[in-house]
């Protein structure tokens, strides 16, 4: 597409007139056509050439360029800076226009540059001022990957209308944030603003990319969550051949035969490799995207981050639609037209025929990047310093003078970007987002959106049509039961759950078959062993076996294997407690690490309880230099299982093999004690196994319960979601309100009852006022006297009572015992106290009553309603 075809784009303001003109043009076209036809009819027979030419001409149809006016709604909501350009901005716009003209003049075959698109209010704004560097107050925004992911998630991508034309509008990042949608240029402007705010050396790039990139079509990409982490290969320590290494035993096999076999194996390997490669190629062929007609023309925009700032070691691209970062030589980026940030605008002068692979991002090099504003301090070409030093003086002054002349960029017209915590946490519009990858579907959810805490769900399929499920991976967050990840392998029917540390039984991983989630079936549990007292690391179960692995135990146990028998049938209801009818244990195998404190011949390596055969087998550790290990076997005495009975020992109950034939046989007493200990141990071990079984059952029932409740934990700092905190706050507010109400009530009207007596008149006349006053005062007087009387009555009552008691005492004094006397004395002192108090009260009342009376009189005098009469 050539420059001329594009003129309408720049003159956004003249759109209406343009539209008019184009309409008139089309009408003109319509008018003209019949005239041509008339002519042709007239000269119908003239020649076939003409006929042919006419047909050719008919094929050519002119369609007027359609210009859809962007809809600008509600202009009032935007601040003034959105709606008009101030002087400086206008100057910059003119400067840019001048630049554009020169550019077009010099490079006629270049595509137009994006310089002055319209903003949401339909005003031309220079692209550099549209960038508003901002650091949002969230931790994720501090790093480029977090920011990129946020932009990709939060903003819904709108594809460019004709994918090969630059957009006419470029909304401000603030608006994009608010509306949560935008095209690629708007998204990269927003992302660039965030990255600049976080201190990165970031640029908005306008260029060309593949269709997949432009449409954010990742169905051919492997989901980033599925990409295997590159394993750091440990370099195997090459064994130094030591000087005295013994010579290996002679190899007596035929070398020829070995060679032949080797060759055969290699050939087979090659064959297989070849087949595999072919298949891979075929597969790749199948999965190749269909050829794109507009390859290389699709306009796209992304962000370039240059190395240097924020410890970025290498230049790289960030794709705002997917949030992924790419190396600058990625195949998907086909070319760069221009790039800019809030300081300057550079046009790419390099050959992009080979994509972005050969581009050099030295923005100071004028031959590679044509800048718009010469003054900006940043990328000057590095000049050797020696020469500079010599000319330092003059140069400095010159530069200063020059700089004064330069036009500097006005501040951004965009209002501050802001984002509430709630909005930030919602992430995607309405909190959900679904991404399609190659044979995979990725669903993202905001935290707390799902009742069960699901935040990410990855479904992996076998085929491209996403029909046959291979496995589902679900990530959870904030779950009370600490479940973090659940992987359901649909092919094998196995579910693996991963938990964070801090569960009551320190479960770390739980692998079970989806079909049989109940106890006593195939499962593996892995635990946080360092948090467990028993050091259990892993427990494998099948229907009839259980294997436990331990770490760092004081008794050196590291392995326990239990074989269960079939449950004996009992006449019990099916749903009865399994504890009442445990599975019989047939065999327990315990294995121990070497305990260096004991001699090897006393240190048990393997201990086997054969319950079914009433036997106990011991295998001891190898001595350091020995190749065989001592063993011992016990036959359990017949009454071993009866508690309380004395074990009798006979020599044929044990048999042994000692590695060292010369070693002394241990005494019978020791062997007897060993047997007693073993029997105790057997019981303890059986109990432990039962405990393990019980634990499994409890864990499973806990899990069932948790799964059915699926509660989420809420941080105490989360004031929005924490119900308790919220309630507490509301309660405080309520209390405050009540307090306020009470205070209001305090100021009740003392005149109200008297006003009510005279029927609450609107206006109080003088006579009424006087009677009101009289009544009020009389009432108070009455009450004061009443109170005094009341006190006096009580006083008298107390005194008479006391007198009575005194009389009674004098009468019965002789016949009284000590206790009664004491009681009487107590009563007297209490009564005297009460009388004294009453006396005090009365006196005080007498003192204060006149004051109260006077105070009321004063108050009535100054009362607003009666004031006019006094």
């Amino acid at each position: 597409m050539s420059e001329e075809n594009h003129t309408p784009v720049e003159d956004g303001l003249l759109e209406e007139t343009k539209e008019d003109s184009s309409e008139s043009k089309s009408t003109a076209d319509v008018d003209q056509t019949p005239t041509i036809e008339e002519e042709t009819e007239a000269e119908l027979e003239e020649s076939e050439d003409v006929q042919a030419m006419r047909e050719e001409l008919d094929k050519i149809k002119i369609e007027p360029p359609k210009i859809d006016l962007p809809v600008f709604e509600n202009l009032d909501a935007y601040p003034l800076s959105y709606k008009e350009n101030d002087n400086k901005e206008t100057l910059v716009l003119q400067y840019a226009e001048n630049f554009r003209r020169q550019f077009v003049h010099l490079y006629r075959d270049r595509k137009p540059l994006l310089l002055n698109p319209l903003n949401e209010c339909g005003v031309e704004k220079f692209v550099c001022t549209t960038i508003r560097p901002t650091l949002l107050p969230y931790q994720e925004m501090y790093d480029y990957d977090g920011a990129a992911e946020f932009v990709a998630d939060y903003i819904t991508f709108v594809p460019l209308a004709p994918p090969i034309e630059l957009p006419k509008t470029l909304f401000s990042p603030a608006t994009v944030l608010a509306k949560q949608k935008g095209h690629c240029l708007e998204m990269s402007t927003l992302l660039c603003s965030l990255l600049l705010g976080a201190g990165y050396d970031a640029y908005v790039v306008s260029g060309y990319a593949t269709k997949e990139m432009c449409l954010c079509d990742e169905t051919r990409e492997i989901c980033p969550l599925m990409q295997k982490k590159k394993e750091v290969k440990k370099e195997e320590e090459t064994k130094e051949s030591k000087k005295y290494t013994v010579k290996p035993a002679k190899d007596l096999r035929s070398k020829f035969i070995m060679k032949q076999e080797q060759r055969k194996i290699e050939e087979q390997e090659k064959e297989r490799e070849k087949i595999r490669k072919e298949e891979e190629e075929k597969q790749a062929e199948l999965e190749k995207p269909p050829p794109d007609d507009l390859f290389g023309l699709r306009i796209h925009s992304w962000v370039l981050v240059l190395s240097g700032k924020r410890e970025v070691p290498e230049n790289f691209f960030i794709e705002p639609l997917s949030g992924g970062s790419f190396p600058t030589d990625d195949d998907n980026f086909l070319g760069i037209e221009s790039l800019w940030n809030n300081t300057n605008y550079w046009v790419c002068m390099q050959d992009c025929s080979n994509g972005c692979k050969d581009l050099i991002f030295d923005l100071g090099d004028c031959s590679k990047w044509e800048y718009m504003f010469p003054h900006i301090e940043k990328p000057q070409l590095q000049i050797p310093e020696v020469e500079e030093d010599a000319l330092d003086f003059d140069d400095d002054e010159d530069e200063e003078k020059e700089e004064e002349k330069h036009l500097d960029l006005p501040p951004s017209w965009v209002k501050t970007l802001c984002l509430t915590l709630r909005e930030f946490q919602t992430r995607c519009p309405s909190g959900k987002k679904t991404l399609l990858y190659k044979r995979a579907k990725l669903e993202k959810f905001a935290e707390y959106l799902n009742k069960n805490g699901l935040v990410t769900k990855l479904s992996v399929y076998e085929d491209k049509e996403l029909q046959q499920l291979v496995r589902i991976k679900e990530w959870y967050s904030n779950r009370l039961d600490k479940l973090q990840l659940r992987v359901h392998n649909h092919r094998k029917g196995i579910v693996t759950e991963y938990y964070a540390s801090g569960r009551s039984r320190h479960l770390k991983e739980h692998i079970y078959k989806a079909v049989t989630p109940g106890p006593e079936s195939e499962r593996t549990m892995i635990f946080y062993h360092h948090a467990r007292v028993d050091g259990l690391k892993k427990r494998d179960e099948t229907a009839t076996e259980m294997t436990e692995y331990f770490v760092d135990r004081d008794d050196f146990l590291y392995y326990r294997h239990v074989v269960f028998g079939k449950r004996p049938r009992k006449l019990e209801p099916a749903g009865s407690n399994p504890n009442s009818n445990p599975r019989p244990i047939l065999k327990i195998v315990d294995r121990f690490h070497r305990n260096k404190a004991k001699p090897a011949n006393d240190d048990v390596a393997e201990l086997i309880f054969m319950m079914s055969e009433d036997r106990i087998q011991l295998m001891f550790h190898h001595e350091d230099t020995k190749i065989s290990a001592s063993t011992r076997e016990f036959l359990k005495p017949p009454n071993a299982n009866d508690k309380g009975s004395v074990l009798t020992m006979s020599p044929d109950m044990t048999s042994t093999f000692q590695v060292d034939p010369n070693s002394k046989q241990p005494k019978d007493l020791i062997i007897y004690q060993m047997l007693v200990n073993l029997l105790e141990r057997e019981e303890a071990t059986v109990n432990m196994v039962r405990d393990s079984e019980e634990e499994v059952r409890e864990i499973l029932s806990d899990r069932d319960h948790e799964e059915s409740v699926s509660e989420l934990s809420i941080s105490v700092y989360d004031t929005e979601r924490n119900e308790k905190a919220k309630q507490h706050r509301k309660e405080l507010e309520r209390l405050q309100m009540e307090e306020k109400m009470r205070r209001e009530e305090m100021e009740l009207d003392y005149l109200a009852p008297f006003l009510a007596q005279i029927g609450d008149p609107e206006k109080i006349v003088k006579a009424q006022a006087f009677t009101l006053k009289e009544d009020c005062l009389a009432d108070l007087k009455h009450r004061l006297i009443d109170k005094a009387n009341l006190i006096q009555a009580r006083f008298e009552k107390e005194t008479t009572e006391l007198q009575k008691k005194q009389q009674w005492y004098q009468q019965h004094q002789v016949s009284m015992n000590k206790e009664d006397e004491e009681e009487y004395l107590n009563y007297c002192s209490e009564a005297m106290f009460r009388i004294h108090i009453l006396e005090l009260r009365l006196n005080r009342h007498k003192e204060t009553a006149p004051h109260k009376y006077m105070a009321l009189e004063q108050k009535l005098r100054t009362d607003s309603r009666l004031a006019e009469y006094f």
Binding site: K243, Y244, H622, K626, I627, V646, L647, L669, Q673
Partner: protein, 523 residues
């Protein structure tokens, strides 16, 4: 205790008493029956209680070498003795006796809990060997000096201490003094020491403690440096070059030399001696450094050799153990099969097969052993060769250096002789103006005398040098011979015999096992 002492005849620890005590305190019930049947060896007894026995003298306990707990309380013991064999003792109770002096603990290095309550001890002492002491009770004794408690500072593990009932307890500062001076203490007189008491006590005795600590630290430093020095000397000694890093050899040459000092006072000899000493010491130093180098080399070589040998042995052992394990697995399977078998024919064939397998494994194990023997033999030979080379190189070098020393001595001798002759001439001519000591003058009688004196000195020097040389060489050669002898003995002969024994024992056992099993099957 004194009332008992007066009235009752003191008892003696004799076999009867010990047997009775062991039996009473030994296992009970079925275990007791077995023990009785079998008899208990004193050396197996771990705990022994001999209280209220009116014992006067600790004796006849030497058999109880495994004893960890011994109670001798409430007797009339006057002297701590006879405990030297009980090296495993952890718990010792000697309370309520008549002990006056703490002694006899020199061998009880494992002792953790010691009770000397209610005795007549007046000084805490003689307990240096009890480094692990954890609990100590010396209450109700006659300890007078509070300062004596400082002695307990050396027990870094001491946590519980009982001192109540001693004379110094009346002192008001008693508690604070003890708490401050024994920082490891947690319980004093059965009470937990709380933090405030500790702080107050530390404050009270701040200065004296600081002083004490400074002294102790200085002591410790001295000890450490002494030890370092000792270690270094040991190293030099093992490199056969001890004392060669200085003028020691030179000095020793003149140490026994009676004529030397006399000759030294001859004019001009002093300067000669100085240069001689310098040069000589320099060579000694060279020799010393060379010796150390060689020593390091030898050490490395030896350790490398043993490392490789260990590797080879371990590898061989692992292979053999693996074979045995797999065989045992096979055996297990076979035995369980056999037990459920009724067909005599099949049974016989299986037994046959088993015997064959046993033979095969015997063959394999022996094969591995033979292979290892071959490998080791070869390696040892190589090592022997290398070591011999190394030692002979060392010896040659030493000889070269020493001969330089000898050369120096010869030169010195010639010069000295020259000076002596000249001086004699001068003396005869009475030209000697320097005042020469009388002893030297005695030598300046005639030429023979002076020459004899000089050559006597020279011979002595040479003798010293020769001795040193011989010493180095013999020691190096002896070391080498001992090492090789030990390697041959341990690595080749003993190891091989042990292994062969082990294999045969195992095979016999395997064969026996089948026979035993058959017996069961027959029943």
């Amino acid at each position: 205790m004194s009332r008992l002492y007066d009235t009752v005849e003191p008892a003696v620890i004799d076999e009867e008493m010990l047997l009775k005590a062991v039996e009473e305190q030994g296992p009970k019930e079925e275990a007791g029956r077995i023990a009785k049947q079998e008899g208990i060896d004193f050396c197996d007894v771990v705990q022994l209680r001999l209280d209220f026995k009116n014992i006067l003298k600790i004796d006849n306990l030497w058999q109880f070498t495994r004893l960890t707990k011994l109670q001798l309380d409430n007797n009339i013991i006057e002297k701590i003795e006879g405990l030297d064999q009980l090296v495993n003792l952890i718990w010792l109770d000697l309370s309520f006796n008549n002990i006056e002096i703490i002694e006899g603990f020199d061998k009880l290095t494992k002792l953790e809990d010691l009770t000397l309550y209610n005795n007549r001890i007046s000084v805490i002492e003689n307990m240096d060997a009890l480094t692990k002491l954890h609990v100590l009770s010396v209450g109700n004794n006659n300890i007078e000096q509070l300062e004596n408690v400082k002695y307990l500072r050396r027990f870094k593990n001491l946590q519980t201490l009982n001192l109540s009932g001693n004379e110094f307890c009346d002192d008001g500062n008693y508690k604070a003094y003890i708490v401050a001076h024994i920082p490891s203490l947690v319980y004093l007189d059965f009470r937990l020491i709380d933090e405030s008491t500790r702080v107050a006590a530390n404050e009270q005795y701040k200065y004296s403690i600081e002083e004490l600590e400074a002294d102790e630290n200085a002591e410790e430093r001295k000890r450490v440096s002494e030890k370092e020095k000792q270690d270094l000397f040991e190293l030099h000694k093992s490199a056969y070059v001890e004392n060669l890093n200085g003028p020691f050899l030179f000095d020793s040459m003149f140490f026994d030399d009676t004529e030397g000092p006399k000759l030294a006072s001859l004019p001009g000899v002093e300067e000669l001696l100085i240069t001689f000493k310098e040069k000589f010491t320099e060579i000694c130093q060279q020799l010393f450094e060379f010796g150390l180098q060689e020593h390091a080399k030898r050490k490395k070589e030896v350790s490398e050799f043993f490392e490789c040998i260990e590797d080879a042995k371990k590898e061989n052992k692992d292979i053999a153990a693996e074979k045995i394990d797999s065989f045992l697995a096979y055996k297990k399977k076979l035995f369980s099969e056999i037990q459920h078998m009724s067909d005599q024919k099949v049974l016989d064939s299986r037994i046959e097969e088993y015997h064959k397998e046993v033979n095969v494994i015997w063959d394999q194990l022996m094969g591995y052993e033979l292979q290892l023997v071959d490998q080791l033999e070869e390696t040892i030979k190589e090592f022997d060769r290398n070591m011999a080379d190394m030692v002979s190189l060392f010896v040659e070098n030493v000889q070269a250096q020493i001969s330089q020393c000898r050369e120096l001595e010869n030169q010195h001798h010639e010069k000295l002789l020259e000076i002596a002759v000249i001086t004699l001439e001068k003396f005869v001519k009475n030209e000697l103006d320097d005042d020469v000591p009388d002893e030297t003058k005695l030598l300046l009688v005639d030429k023979d005398t002076i020459q004899n004196a000089v050559s006597a000195s020279h011979d002595l020097h040479l003798l010293k040098i020769d001795n040193r040389e011989d010493e180095i060489i013999t020691r190096a050669n002896n070391w080498m011979a001992a090492l090789m002898e030990q390697i041959h003995q341990d690595e080749e002969i003993k190891r091989n015999r042990d292994r062969i024994c082990e294999i045969n024992n195992l095979i016999d056992h395997l064969n026996d096992e089948l026979d035993n099993l058959d017996l069961h099957g027959g029943l």
